[in-house]
């Protein structure tokens, strides 16, 4: 018997309760391979694509563009061409008769972030998955663990994956010390001690890539591999106007054009994304933390610290992923991590490549780690 696969509204992040259908990328009757993107949907925070987990034919588009569905709501049906229409209609009727949207009131809606004391500072982290060789996801300047919203669960399919908020970021303590990569790396090593990790695969985005290399420099034995996504500390240049604009922006109007530079599709910079960023920036201590870090690492549009030799000389696997059209750190830096590094440049993508091309990035990392 051929299976009928139901495409449903995904849940991206704890707060997502419903999503809007932006449009179908496949027509009814089209064949679909595993991993192909079928339909674009959007939560109040971010837009993305639902991809196929099974191969088959797109048989039904239940939801239309602009429809708003609860998480878990039925978007469409993928099944083999020989599955009778009557079976599909029965499956749809059965689903609709039994589906009750999650009201969001339940307390056990997946894993929740926790806090742990590291060197006198509280760091927030989110743990997903069990077993395997552990991985740590390290966000960039001004980011937080939600930057891995589309990666965390996929990467945790066969291992324990931690995403943390660096000092000065997200809901971690806002004391960043001297703002150097060494001090941020010390916080990551302290975090590994605190949660009992001897060694981990480090995946760092932007400044988080630089922090990953700084961990490798300070404690090479604690690093199993490096995945550097649009990483800092591989070259001189960085978009100083972006850094200064981000640090200085105090309201929606100032922040929107700055954040737009992060994405290849500026439409992804939603009101909610801007509001969340403003809420973070207005927390006590954040302005000082961002200024300390940017003055130390990125003053006058130059990167103060170069760690490419660390990646090149580590003797561990290194994967470099970059968006071809990155407006923050030039894609040319992708080649600096040594001749043994595996380099993947994604066409048309920007700085937040792990969000905008999440499925591709997840596959590259999974393949890299075998």
């Amino acid at each position: 018997m051929s299976a009928i696969h139901k495409l449903t509204m995904p849940k991206w992040g704890l707060s997502m309760q419903e999503g809007k259908v932006n449009g179908w990328l496949k027509e009814i009757g089209e064949s679909i391979a595993v991993g192909e993107e079928i339909v674009e949907v959007e939560s109040e925070k971010i837009a993305g694509a639902v991809e196929a987990s099974v191969a088959g034919v797109l048989r039904r588009q239940i939801a239309s563009a602009e429809d708003v569905l609860p998480v878990g709501g039925l978007l469409g049906i993928v099944a083999d061409a020989e599955v009778p229409d009557a079976d599909i209609d029965a499956a749809i009727a059965d689903f609709l008769a039994n589906f009750t949207p999650d009201t969001g009131d339940e307390e056990d809606a997946g894993p929740k972030p926790e806090k742990i004391e590291v060197g006198g500072r509280k760091l927030r982290y989110l743990k997903r998955g069990e077993g395997g060789e552990p991985m740590i996801l390290i966000h960039g300047f001004g980011g937080d663990l939600n930057n891995w919203l589309f990666n965390h669960e996929a990467l945790a399919a066969d291992r324990t994956v931690y995403a943390l908020d660096l000092p000065g970021h997200g809901e971690s303590a806002k004391d960043v010390g001297d703002g150097s990569l060494a001090s941020l790396a010390a916080a990551v090593v302290g975090f590994m001690d605190a949660v009992g990790l001897d060694a981990a695969h480090l995946v760092g985005h932007s400044m988080g890539g630089a922090v990953s290399m700084a961990v490798a420099q300070a404690a090479p034995a604690r690093v199993r591999s490096l995945t550097l996504i649009a990483s800092a500390a591989l070259g001189d240049e960085i978009n100083g106007a972006y850094i200064d604009g981000f640090v200085g922006a105090n309201d929606r109007r100032a922040l929107k054009p700055v954040l737009s530079q992060l994405f290849s599709d500026a439409g992804l910079v939603t009101r909610q994304l801007i509001d969340d960023m403003l809420k973070y920036k207005r927390l006590e201590g954040v302005d000082a933390a961002l200024r300390t870090i940017s003055d130390t690492l990125f003053e006058h549009g130059r990167q103060a610290t170069r760690l490419a030799p660390v990646a090149a000389g580590l003797g561990k696997p290194v994967l470099v992923i970059w968006g071809e059209n990155d407006q923050i750190i030039p894609v040319a830096h992708a080649r600096a991590a040594g001749k043994d590094a595996l380099v993947e440049v994604l066409t048309g993508q920007g700085h937040m490549v792990q969000m905008e091309a999440a499925n591709e990035v997840n596959r590259l990392i999974a393949r890299f780690l075998g």
Partner: protein, 336 residues
């Protein structure tokens, strides 16, 4: 930001964190130490609805339980502000403003101007406002428009717990007199609020919901009524943009005008009585500055021009409801 607390707890936390941060911050008001002031009853309650609970013993000597004399302690708070403290005076019900209005509008609001910018009056007057508590005509009024009228006062009407905390911290740090109005029906509203201290700037509207069809500008509790209406209208295919100015003075005109330029249709929801109200004020601003963008007459959903009734049934009809907002939105949407 997973932690949820109530509007009331958010206000308490803002006071607590500012008192911890700045020894100049003091609290003055009736019953805010908890009732009769007698030993054993101190701090038992913390204001009529418990907003200041726990602060009396945490900050000895800095929470002043005053006699029932608004003219006395509001005047004292204004004077203390001129002399270097940062008092937060609690007026209990904004309806009591009448007996201490001189201290606010003719003294506090004027000092900066009359003394050539040399005097600062960093006082906050907190007060409950609004209908819905079966408290009748003298304990239910919605008077933010009166303060908005007076130059020299800043006026804050938070609609949710996050804004309540951030705006109150901003109010305490502000060097001008601030009228901070808390809708009593919102005290039990829960929302995500960071544990850390933060500020929300004055004069920056929150776009509480985005939409292209109709702009709804609403204040305080009415923001939530408007959001309820907007969610229902969405199901009918009408996409409302809900704007919460958060402060009526200063007012973020730009966000309102930009939205009306986009939608061409405006509904204003205001719990005050309609004459000389925020609703009429914003209607005037938009009619003057975005006249060319308007595709329909501006609708105002307000209380009727009468005192808040004592009858439950009449009070329920008095407050602008989601149904009335929906009807107004439908009228401007269908106008040809």
């Amino acid at each position: 930001m997973a932690r949820k607390i109530t509007y009331q707890q958010a206000i308490n936390e803002a006071l607590d964190q500012e008192m911890a941060r700045d020894p100049r911050v003091i609290i003055m008001g009736e019953d805010n130490a908890g009732g009769a002031g007698a030993p054993g009853e101190e701090d038992a309650w913390g204001g009529v609805l418990g907003v200041t609970k726990g602060l009396f013993h945490k900050y000895p000597g800095r929470v002043l339980d005053t006699p029932i004399s608004e003219s006395g302690y509001v005047g004292a708070a204004v004077g203390a502000a001129c002399n270097g403290l940062r008092p937060v005076a609690e007026l209990m019900f904004v309806d009591f403003i009448g007996v201490c209005f001189d201290q606010i509008y003719n003294q506090a609001a004027k000092f900066r101007y009359m003394f050539g910018g040399k005097a600062e009056t960093p006082v906050v007057i907190r007060a409950m406002y609004g209908a819905g508590f079966r408290a009748a005509a003298q304990h239910s009024q919605c008077l933010y428009n009166m303060f908005t009228h007076i130059p020299g006062l800043k006026v804050v009407v938070p609609s949710n717990p996050y804004d309540a905390k951030g705006l109150l911290i901003q109010a305490i740090r502000d060097n001008d007199p601030v009228i901070f109005l808390e809708h009593k029906v919102l005290y039990t509203m829960e929302g995500e609020v960071p544990e850390e201290s933060y500020t929300v700037p004055f004069g920056e509207a929150n776009v509480a919901r985005e939409g292209d069809d109709v702009t709804i500008v609403a204040f305080g509790r009415m923001v939530n009524q408007a959001l309820t209406a907007a969610a229902a209208l969405q199901k009918q295919g009408i996409h409302c943009e809900v704007i919460d100015p958060r402060t009526t003075s200063p007012l973020d005109e730009d966000t309102i005008l930009e939205s009306v330029e986009k939608t061409g249709r405006l509904v204003i929801v205001d719990e005050s009585t309609p004459r000389c109200s925020m609703a009429s004020d914003i209607a005037g601003i938009v009619a003057q500055k975005a006249f060319g963008a308007l595709k329909a007459p501006i609708e105002q959903v307000t209380a009727p021009h009468v005192p808040v009734p004592f009858s439950d049934a009449l009070e329920d009809l008095y407050v602008p409801s989601p149904a009335r907002i929906e009807a107004a939105v439908t009228r401007v949407k269908e106008y040809r």
